[in-house]
């Protein structure tokens, strides 16, 4: 497995911290390749057969499959191990970040050189969907601050994303942004966005590919979490990429109408809420110039998936602090777009190849409600 790029802001792991993180990565790979696939055999051979004998039909949806599988010892053991691997991952990174936090904060304070900007808004309210639980089990979530000018949550996230993705997001964790940018340049070579906005940009790992794809463009990123943005700013500056970051909620920003040619998000929508998602799409409509485009990269909707596959992809809803994951994946995205006054013929839902997996052999490593690993990303697109 390729190593993560040791850019200027990435926390430095000691020998034992790295060994601990290596173990978690191997543990996750083992679960994904050696244990998780067995769940389907248990389902097919035991759980489904039991259900059929009783009901004279196969389970209809993922909820019926979940009812069956949560009684299966094999599934329980895998689930418990998967949850434990997630907790160990955060722990192995948080311990390392905490040890060097003063140095990271100092590096963050000294960031500069690439010409990007950072605008924080301490008055911005944290949305309820961030406050309710710590999303995907990161202790403290995206937002918790431990010290002045804190960057800890960002530093933890940057390293943990790499371990979680088992390296499949590439050495810069930028596969999502890179896959979208590659697709855009290939499919829309005439499209030359002058202003680009990345919603819920966290540490800016998906934002940077747009700076590289469109060097003339002005690239903005927003997020609700200050420690993410401070880290994102320092990270981008360390990598020599100019991004303008501001602390804002994607449901309602302070940008003027028709500010952007391209608005993107990367695995953001499933971390919002049923109420918020409509407002995010409407805000995209308001901010886009005529001829502009919004692209939200996610993993595919559940529609059309066999009940077992949908059940496995829904694991995170119940086991990894992703409360909106299941509801989101049942939504009619085209309807959401038209409700926000996008024209139906401009709305597309497509799969695009992963830039990283294109460049390498496909790994096909899938965990529970995974992001990535299938060699392709799902894009929800609407033209203004």
């Amino acid at each position: 497995m390729a190593e993560q790029n040791q850019h200027g802001m990435l926390p430095r792991a000691s020998h034992d911290e790295l060994a601990r993180q290596n173990f978690v990565q191997s543990f996750k790979i083992h679960l994904a390749t050696r244990v998780s696939p067995g769940n389907e055999r248990i389902y097919e051979q035991r759980a489904k057969a039991r259900f059929k004998r009783k009901h004279r039909r196969a389970p209809r949806d993922r909820h019926e499959v979940r009812g069956l599988m949560t009684a299966e010892p094999y599934y329980r053991m895998w689930s418990a191990l998967q949850r434990t691997s997630q907790e160990m991952m955060w722990d192995s990174v948080a311990t390392s970040v905490e040890r060097q936090l003063d140095a990271l904060v100092a590096r963050g304070r000294g960031a500069g050189g690439a010409g990007g900007t950072l605008t924080l808004d301490p008055e911005l309210a944290l949305p309820a969907y961030h406050a309710a639980v710590d999303i995907h089990c990161q202790p403290g979530g995206y937002h918790t601050e431990l010290t002045a000018d804190d960057v800890a949550a960002g530093a933890i996230y940057d390293r943990a994303v790499y371990i979680y993705a088992m390296g499949r997001m590439g050495p810069f964790n930028d596969d999502l942004g890179r896959s979208v940018a590659n697709w855009l340049r290939h499919e829309h070579p005439e499209f030359k966005p002058e202003k680009i906005l990345d919603l819920g940009c966290s540490v800016g790992h998906s934002t940077i590919p747009y700076v590289e794809a469109y060097p003339e463009a002005e690239v903005h990123g927003i997020d609700v979490a200050a420690p993410m943005l401070r880290y994102a700013h320092a990270r981008a500056e360390a990598l020599g990429k100019r991004i303008h970051l501001s602390q804002q909620n994607a449901e309602r920003t302070n940008f003027a109408d028709r500010s952007f040619d391209l608005i993107v998000s990367h695995i953001l929508l499933h971390e919002t809420s049923a109420q918020a998602i409509g407002r995010v799409i409407a805000e995209c409509r308001r901010l886009l110039r005529p001829g502009g485009m919004m692209i939200h990269a996610e993993v595919p909707q559940f529609e059309g998936l066999p009940p077992y596959a949908a059940f496995m992809l829904d694991w995170d809803t119940y086991n990894n602090n992703e409360p909106f994951w299941g509801h989101y994946h049942d939504l009619d995205l085209a309807q959401l777009a038209t409700e926000a006054r996008f024209k139906p013929k401009g709305v597309k839902q497509i799969m695009v190849p992963s830039a990283f997996e294109q460049a390498r052999a496909r790994t096909g490593l899938l965990q529970g409600g995974d992001f990535g690993g299938a060699g392709a990303w799902f894009l929800f697109i609407a033209h203004r």
């Binding site: 034992d16 060994a19 053991m77 689930s79 418990a80």
Partner: protein, 110 residues
């Protein structure tokens, strides 16, 4: 820094203690991997410096005295590790009734 993510942790087994035991076991497995990797680093550094080779480690056979010391260590180690297994049997052999501890509390309290 908090080490617990906000949001109630699911339980996976009939007995919630099993959830905890599994997490403890995996944490231990992780620490064994850390020690193993550190030892591997030491061996490779020593080999790089020409102090010893991994082949020498593989060829190494303890003499009788050292072999006996190692055997003693392993026996003590297993005794410590599996202490809990012996409790039940020892309790039976000593004739400890299931309610004997409760009786002891009552006895010293009356």
């Amino acid at each position: 820094m908090s080490r617990k993510a906000k949001g109630k942790r699911p339980t996976y087994f009939e007995n919630p203690e099993c959830d905890k035991l599994l997490a403890i076991t995996m944490a231990l497995a992780g620490e064994v991997a850390v020690v193993r990797e550190r030892l591997d680093t030491i061996e490779r550094l020593l080999e790089g410096k020409g102090t010893l080779t991994t082949a020498e480690i593989e060829r190494y056979r303890p003499d009788e005295k050292i072999a006996a010391e190692r055997e003693r260590w392993r026996a003590e180690y297993l005794e410590r590790l599996l202490r809990i297994i012996h409790h039940e049997l020892e309790s039976v052999e000593k004739g400890e009734a299931p309610d004997s501890y409760q009786r002891a509390i009552e006895e010293v309290s009356s």
